[in-house]
């Protein structure tokens, strides 16, 4: 791919994205409009995250891509290959070794350090969008800090279902000001939004970038009598035995038998390498693929 510039995008586009990232960091949780480019992969498949990564990566970085927590899902593989080709960066599956991590739908289980950057792929950046379809209106609501609609929605959930019926993309308030969509991560991950790493969010089709600097106050919306609860399946990982990780559920036989395993494949492998074995696990072998 020598015909293309470092990290694919031309320099002017990267500058435009970089300026948006800096304003995003200066106004945590506020969605900065940016002139998203047409990437050689479809909208909705991570073009926002890819553009942010392209603007952030240096040749010295080690890059990790996860989709649903896993490094080997096809879209994660495709994006990782794209940057291997266009930026020549080193890649890794190990969270601890990565300096930039692009993710879709998960925050790694392993706590991130202040020298790590987490880039989220965001489908719909506007947390109010499903309550108010008009961009003109939602922009006004953010400017006036008018978030009553969101509270009404959450409260209606409680009165109808006895609980807040939002399981992922659970809205948060950032630094006491902007209500933000954390991307479709399970609400289990919400507490991890308070972290040491830099969090950058890219929505390509919707042309928005936003950010959360390290150690920023991120609060999941809730009510005094219905406090936010980060929940997960009430199981341990069947491969590594972890009880503290978010789990994928697999159907393993025709009778509908289930098993659970860590959605974060690197976390699970790391535990198994260290000798942890779950109910249906086998001792770790390097070459099992």
């Amino acid at each position: 791919m020598t015909d293309y510039n470092f990290a694919y995008l031309d320099e002017q586009t990267k500058r435009m994205i970089r300026r948006a990232i800096l304003k995003g960091l200066a106004i945590p949780g506020y969605q900065v409009p940016f002139a998203s480019r047409e990437m050689p992969m479809p909208y909705g498949w991570g073009t926002g995250g890819v553009q942010v990564s392209a603007a952030v990566l240096t040749p010295d970085d080690t890059f990790k891509v996860i989709d649903q927590g896993a490094d080997d899902t096809t879209n994660a593989v495709s994006i990782r290959r794209f940057f291997e080709k266009t930026a020549g960066v080193a890649v890794t599956e190990a969270t601890v070794d990565a300096s930039v991590i692009q993710t879709r739908h998960r925050i790694p289980e392993q706590d991130l350090r202040s020298d790590q950057i987490l880039v989220y792929q965001v489908p719909i950046p506007e947390p109010l969008r499903f309550l108010e379809p008009s961009e003109v209106e939602t922009r006004k609501m953010h400017s006036l800090e008018e978030y009553g609609l969101m509270h009404v929605k959450l409260y209606e959930d409680i009165s109808q279902h006895g609980a807040i019926a939002t399981a992922y993309a659970y809205p948060v308030k950032v630094e006491g000001r902007y209500v933000m969509d954390p991307s479709p991560i399970p609400k289990f991950d919400n507490p991890k939004l308070n972290m040491a790493g830099i969090q950058l969010f890219g929505a390509g089709r919707e042309q928005r970038i936003y950010a959360v600097p390290p150690y920023t106050d991120v609060v999941s919306l809730d009510f005094d009598d219905y406090p936010f609860e980060a929940s997960k399946a009430d199981h341990a990982c069947d491969l590594c035995g972890a009880e503290d990780s978010y789990l994928d559920e697999l159907i393993v036989d025709d009778a509908g038998g289930r098993m659970f395993m860590c959605s974060d494949t690197d976390y699970c492998a790391g535990r198994r390498k260290a000798g942890c074995i779950g109910a249906q696990g086998v001792p770790y072998q390097e070459d099992v693929a």
Partner: protein, 191 residues
Amino acid sequence: MQTTTLMGGFVNAPLDSARAFRQIMTAVAQPGIINDAVGATPPAPLSVAAGVVLLTLCDPDTPVFLTAEFDTDDVRAWITFHTGAPLVDAAKASFAVGSWGDLPITDFAIGTSEYPDRSATLIVEVASLNPEGAELRGPGIKGKATLSLPETAAFQQNTALFPLGLDFVFTCQNRLAALPRTTKVNAIKVS
């Protein structure tokens, strides 16, 4: 055109600007930390770091304001040649370069309530940049940090405008630090 104008840009723009941006971004993300900024050799009185910031972030889409001290033929020609940024009045600027006392800080765009990002970023050239001085708290800072600032009152007033406001990058020789509008600044009493 003088040769000084043509010189002093990035040797390898894609790679140099990528590395420089990382230094700028981590400084903005973690107010108080001081990062290296190298790769440009702009004409005096621009510092290396200020030159690096201009090359990394500015282009024909970002009008730049220069205070009288920096508004020299050499600097103008260098910025125009390497970035294509138009040189404008403070009110129209996306970026500005100047020493602290010379920057007309009330003249710059602070954004609008619907678009608070449409605000200026000021590159403030300082004689010294140390991790001691005013106390900083806010996003990006674990507990508190300290940084030498030219004053505190103006930054406190700026923070009070949040989510509107200006963002600052302090440059000194080949080092930089940043102070976004979210950082709460307090003067430390001299003991």
